[in-house]
């Protein structure tokens, strides 16, 4: 309940959206129309509530959204005259569902396999995350009109689709991970938003991979404060100030991961989370348990019949672990196998650079980093790789000492 003196809590307001929308769609309302009506109810709430707080915010929004839907239907009906009789208001179904079911239901709607990934992400953020269109546009650096169009096209694509069968959880997990990796550009922290959604999802389903994804996000997010310096420069894992890591988030991530692993249905997010947990667990870089990390990578790549083709990114990550366990020559041979699949990507060259450096071949490291920099598609990564190249070459020339004393 909202007390008159309380300031409007937009987070709490947003949290009401999934349940309300799910209820409207479940009782047979069109997804797009219901979403529009609810957005208008939210705008109305932001306008009215500060002066006239409702007794029951959820009921207030449901009433206003329903009234709006009826209005739209009436004006449509008036336009279409004789169709009026077909558009009588449907009786609401009894609400016997849990809030978690609503979140899951809506995630399945938004992550409908017929939608493009960009549309799935936008619709999820708006409908389940409750973000506004300008906020989502800002986060992805596109004009607001472009994002508005993307969302309305996605909603149109859902029109007429049956939204009552169980969706594909794997798609939902992928969409949430996409939101997470989009990071935090602009005013909205998408990583935090993805964690919030993954938390809801983990509560709504028994599926261990949902918990695995949540754990993976938490265990990576915990390192975020150390990942960039004050000038926005990338700081790699081997040089991060580990006292900046969020130990509470790590502890939470480990707990979530343990609860996932206990269900004994393993999957890629659980494996990736386990690898992240091992990194988080090391007191410093040289204490990293590469043996265990490699073992988890082996499990991860074993999920694919042909990991070189089907999961080259994991194979590349595994190569780094191979470098630390078996040496750089073995690891470079591993990356050779990936050349055909990943050989035009900056990450392949960056890993090669790292492995050459690990093996003490600074000349080759410098060349690989420089090649990686030319192929990078992100300014911070490009700048980082140029620095790595310059540093390796300078060290090779003996003009500066290698700053990595821990090696």
């Amino acid at each position: 309940m909202l007390k008159p003196t309380q300031r409007l809590d937009e987070g709490a307001l947003r949290a009401l959206v999934p349940g309300l929308l799910a209820a409207l769609v479940r009782r047979g309302e069109d997804f797009a129309a219901a979403e529009d009506a609810l957005q208008e109810a939210l705008l109305e709430a932001l306008r009215v509530w500060p002066k006239h707080p409702p007794r029951d915010p959820g009921a207030w929004l449901a009433t206003v959204a329903t009234r709006r839907l009826v209005d739209v239907r009436r004006s449509d009906a008036a336009r279409r005259g004789r169709e009026e009789r077909l558009l009588e208001q449907r009786e609401p179904e009894p609400a016997d569902t849990q809030p978690g079911d609503d979140t899951l239901f809506l995630l399945f709607c938004c992550c409908h396999p017929d939608l493009s990934p960009a549309s799935q992400v936008a619709l999820t953020l708006r409908t389940v995350g409750g973000l506004t269109t300008p906020e989502i546009a800002d986060a992805f650096y596109v004009p607001e009109a472009t994002m508005a169009q993307r969302i309305s096209r996605a909603k149109r694509a859902l029109r007429g689709r049956r939204l009552n069968q169980p969706g594909d959880l794997a798609v939902v997990l992928r969409v949430l991970y996409l939101v997470y990796t989009a990071g935090h550009a602009g005013r909205v922290d998408l990583a935090a938003e993805a964690i919030r959604l993954a938390r809801q999802l983990a509560l709504a389903t028994e599926e261990p991979e949902a918990r695995g994804l949540l754990a993976l996000m938490l265990l990576n997010h915990a390192r975020l404060p150390a990942r960039f310096d004050a000038e926005g420069r990338i700081v790699t894992l081997d040089r991060q100030d580990r006292s900046l890591w969020d130990t509470r988030e790590i502890a939470q991530g480990v707990r979530v991961l343990q609860s996932a692993l206990a269900l004994k249905r393993r999957g890629r997010y659980q494996f990736e989370a386990a690898i992240a947990a091992l990194h988080d667990d090391a007191v410093n870089y040289s204490e990293t348990d590469w043996q265990q990390i490699l073992a988890w990578y082996d499990d991860l790549v074993a999920l694919s019949d042909d990991p070189v083709r089907q999961d080259p990114a994991s194979m590349l990550g595994r190569a780094v672990a191979v470098g630390h366990v078996l040496g750089s020559a073995a690891a470079l041979r591993e990356t050779d196998r990936l050349r055909e699949v990943l050989g035009d990507r900056h990450r392949w060259y960056a890993v090669r650079g790292y492995l050459h450096e690990l093996g003490g071949d600074l000349l080759a490291a410098g060349a690989a980093y420089a090649e990686a920099a030319r192929r990078a598609t992100n300014v911070a990564e490009r700048d980082h790789l140029v620095r790595q190249a310059a540093r390796a070459r300078a060290a090779e020339l003996g003009t500066v000492a290698l700053p990595r004393s821990s090696r």
């Binding site: 000038e231 926005g232 980093y369 420089a370 192929r375 620095r387 310059a390 070459r393 003009t399």
Partner: protein, 136 residues
């Protein structure tokens, strides 16, 4: 106020005033100084109220054209004459005058290179045509 694009190039344009090796062959401290200057330019433009946009482009380039009815787009990535321009990125600025745009471009060009000496890089200054009057 007119808008200008200050274009930087990977290659093309007038003969370099001061030829330099690629940045990955510079001394690390020179790389740092260069990148710090670029951050500083961005901040300066924002503080001045002259900033519109700044973007960097990857050097990979694909030329594409309509392939004809029922045909796939036709692409090529060369061969192109070595002298062909390859844009590297831009600042878009909103300034009082053409003179101000040149002044800022010259400042961008003063960015430190190897040895901390200015790069004297040629900057391609292009005026952005204004569109129809906006009516919101």
């Amino acid at each position: 106020m007119p808008k200008y694009l200050l274009l930087k190039h990977y290659r093309g344009g007038p003969e370099p005033y001061r030829p330099v090796p690629p940045m990955d062959e510079w001394a690390p401290e020179d790389v740092e100084a260069h990148m710090a200057f670029q951050r500083h330019v961005g901040e300066l433009l924002r503080e001045n109220g002259e900033y519109v946009d700044a973007q960097a482009l990857t050097p990979a380039r694909t030329w594409v054209r309509y392939g004809g009815p029922d045909a796939a787009p036709v692409t090529t990535d060369g061969p192109l004459p070595e002298t062909s321009d390859l844009a590297a990125g831009w600042y878009m600025i909103d300034v009082e005058s053409h003179e101000r745009a040149l002044e800022l471009a010259a400042y961008v060009s003063s960015e430190p290179g190897p040895g901390g000496e200015p790069l004297y890089e040629w900057i391609d200054v292009r005026e952005v045509m204004s569109g129809a009057p906006a009516h919101d």
